[in-house]
């Protein structure tokens, strides 16, 4: 086999093997990337009923595929926030006597509006919009029209 024929053959094989490898690796990588969560299914959630959420108490629920919290404040209004601590993602707890959110993982504290009182968290908890319809309390994102 002449040298040029051999190197031609080698190049075809190398090229073919490269194409094959890329063609196999591509779907494997796409497969491993998790499919996106459909947001429109979940941007309006019935978080609780009026009866189940007594004043000065909180209920944790899932919103936008993350933990969220609905609080019935002492003054009677409702507040809904993301319950995912902005530090490293632990779910915050609600301290009802002090009306603050406290993260047990590293000690961050947030006030009732989600602003940081004490670190290590730096960013505030996202606020959500609350609306009441009949007996149900709905939570939506702030830019959603109810």
């Amino acid at each position: 086999m002449s040298l040029s024929r051999r190197s031609f053959l080698n190049r075809i094989l190398a090229g073919g093997a490269a194409i094959f490898s890329a063609y196999v690796i591509y779907p494997v990588i796409r497969f491993l990337i998790p499919p996106p969560v459909p947001l429109d299914a979940q941007t309006r959630v019935q978080a609780a009923t009026i009866d189940e959420l007594k004043p000065n108490s909180a209920k944790f629920f899932r919103f936008l595929d993350k933990p969220a919290v609905l609080v019935h404040l002492q003054n009677g209004s409702y507040e809904a926030l993301s319950a995912k601590c902005t530090h490293l993602g632990c779910t915050v707890a609600f301290e009802q006597d002090k009306d603050i959110f406290y993260c047990n993982c590293h000690g961050s504290q947030f006030n009732i509006d989600g602003k940081v009182i004490k670190g290590p968290a730096a960013l505030p908890l996202t606020q959500y919009a609350v609306s009441v319809s009949g007996d149900d309390i709905f939570v939506t994102t702030q830019n959603q029209q109810v």
Binding site: M1, L9, L13, G16, A17, F20, V24, P27, A41, Q42
Partner: protein, 51 residues
């Protein structure tokens, strides 16, 4: 978890791709494999003869 999965399944209309879509992806790969098979055999026999 189950309720979430069912909700996702109902919301998105994607089912498995159609026959055409499936083959649009795999047919070129099949062709590449067959070509590769042919050239590997060619190389194997040629380099053995060339010894």
């Amino acid at each position: 978890m189950t309720a979430f999965l069912i909700q996702v399944a109902d919301t998105l209309s994607a089912k498995i791709p159609s026959f055409t879509d499936r083959f649009n992806f795999t047919l070129p790969l099949i062709v590449v494999l067959l070509i590769l098979m042919f050239f590997i055999l060619l190389k194997s026999y040629e380099s053995e003869k060339g010894r």
